[in-house]
């Protein structure tokens, strides 16, 4: 999982709030929501690429969490428990939409996609800096399967064996999907940068 600042402090805060929430304390629920809402919503947003959908899924995830909170015994970190729940909620939603009907193992029949090599001046130039909006736009353009693996691994810090379990695919497939996702992101970002290089100052592509 991605490292969080002040993780032990947060874990202690979570523990106290959970105990109060288990007694039905509204302020404890509100505080837990406040502590975790951005992480939950951001994960939903990156995996779906749609703000309205992300809000619905975040809402559903918190409802499931709070309904089950009485069963939480502290065997694992609360944030880990919450995180897995959110991922499951999002993936269930994507499956219901029919986006991931085909398993990743079935999709990955081709050989590894090579890096595009069109030798010219532009191709030897580095990407330069990548701002958040541009990156999020590029992630949104990824196919859903690639997007899920990329977000889980590079953004959220899941390991491939965890992703394989969550997404019911092999570890090799997870690695392959991640590599393809990174290639596509790189291409998308270079295209955007190329447009920026040719366009004027007020002509930013969206």
């Amino acid at each position: 999982m991605a490292q969080e600042e002040n993780a032990p402090t947060k874990a202690a805060a979570d523990k106290e709030l959970i105990a109060r929430a288990q007694q039905g304390d509204e302020q404890a629920f509100a505080a837990l929501f406040e502590l975790h809402k951005r992480r939950v919503y951001s994960l939903c947003l990156r995996m779906t690429g749609d703000a309205a959908e992300a809000e619905d899924l975040a809402q559903e995830a918190f409802l499931q969490l709070f309904r089950k909170i009485s069963t939480f015994r502290g065997e694992s970190a609360f944030s880990t428990w919450l995180h897995r729940l959110v991922v499951n909620v999002v993936l269930m939603h994507l499956r219901k939409k029919g986006i991931q009907k085909i398993s990743l193992d079935e999709m990955d029949n081709s050989q590894e996609e090579p890096v595009k090599r069109e030798y010219g001046e532009d191709d030897r130039r580095l990407l330069g800096s990548v701002d958040r909006i541009t990156l999020n736009d590029a992630i949104k353009q990824l196919p859903p399967g690639y997007r899920s693996v990329f977000v889980l691994h590079d953004v959220e810090g899941y390991e491939h064996n965890e992703i394989a379990q969550i997404m019911s695919c092999s570890v090799g497939n997870s690695k392959s999907q991640l590599h393809k996702a990174r290639l596509k992101l790189r291409e998308a970002l270079r295209r955007d940068q190329g447009k920026l290089a040719r366009a004027g100052p007020g002509d930013r592509p969206h």
Partner: protein, 229 residues
């Protein structure tokens, strides 16, 4: 121009290198190949930008919806109001069983909310509209002869009317959540009323009915308070 063997090997090893595996050939080749050096740097840049990409903030509606559902399901116990603090269980001896005390306390809260509501003056205008929109859930009651029951019904009806008077100004998704919870409570009220009609001495149904009224009052109060912000 086709990539050389070094470039092909670089591409094969790149994924593993980015996973943290020891692949010295990747770095060695990147030092001598300008193109592959760019590729490696780009990939590392994308990865670091992803980790540092920051978090987004959901709208306040998300919490409002979550809270509304949790209150309706009885998972959240809202903090005691002024009236509930001043009329605790020890008053039971004066007012009979605890259920009417709780209902009376909740209705007292509702009365305070109504007095604060800028929409109270619209109640008479919206009365007929609200009545047409909702079934007469409170037509039947759990103790017809009790003046307290009549007061309970009247206050909850006023709360409902204030709620429907405000509905145009509510977020659609929030309203949908509240409506769903209210429908669920109305179903429960109807069921309890039916049980008590068949078995007037059914105290359990009476307690469930009191509880449903209290939850409905709290939910309507919550909706009105949220909308007044």
């Amino acid at each position: 121009m086709k990539p050389g063997d070094g470039c092909l090997n670089f591409e094969e090893e790149l994924s593993a290198y980015l996973e943290g595996e020891d692949r010295p050939a990747v770095l060695q080749h990147a030092e001598s190949c300008e193109f592959c050096h760019c590729v490696l740097t780009d990939f590392e840049l994308v990865r670091s930008a992803s980790v540092e990409s920051g978090l987004d903030e959901p709208s306040p509606v998300v919490w409002a919806n979550v809270r509304a559902v949790l209150v309706a399901e009885g998972i959240i116990h809202p903090p005691l109001s002024f009236w509930q603090r001043w009329f605790p269980l020890k008053s039971r001896g004066l007012l009979g069983s605890p259920a009417p005390v709780a209902v009376a306390a909740a209705l007292a809260i509702a009365a305070v909310v109504l007095l604060r509501s800028p929409f109270v003056s619209n109640l008479s205008r919206t009365h007929s509209a609200a009545a047409a929109m909702r079934p007469a859930v409170l037509a039947e009651n759990y103790d017809v002869s009790s003046p307290r029951t009549s007061q309970t019904q009247q206050t909850i009806q006023q709360l409902e009317e204030a709620y429907y008077a405000n509905e145009a100004s509510m977020e659609p998704s929030l309203k949908a959540t509240y409506d769903k919870s209210l429908q669920s409570l109305d179903d429960e009220i109807r069921e309890c009323q039916a049980s008590m009609q068949q078995q007037p001495q059914n105290t359990l149904a009476g307690e469930y009915l009191s509880s449903a009224y209290m939850q409905k009052a709290q939910l309507l109060q919550s909706a009105l308070e949220y909308n007044l912000r």
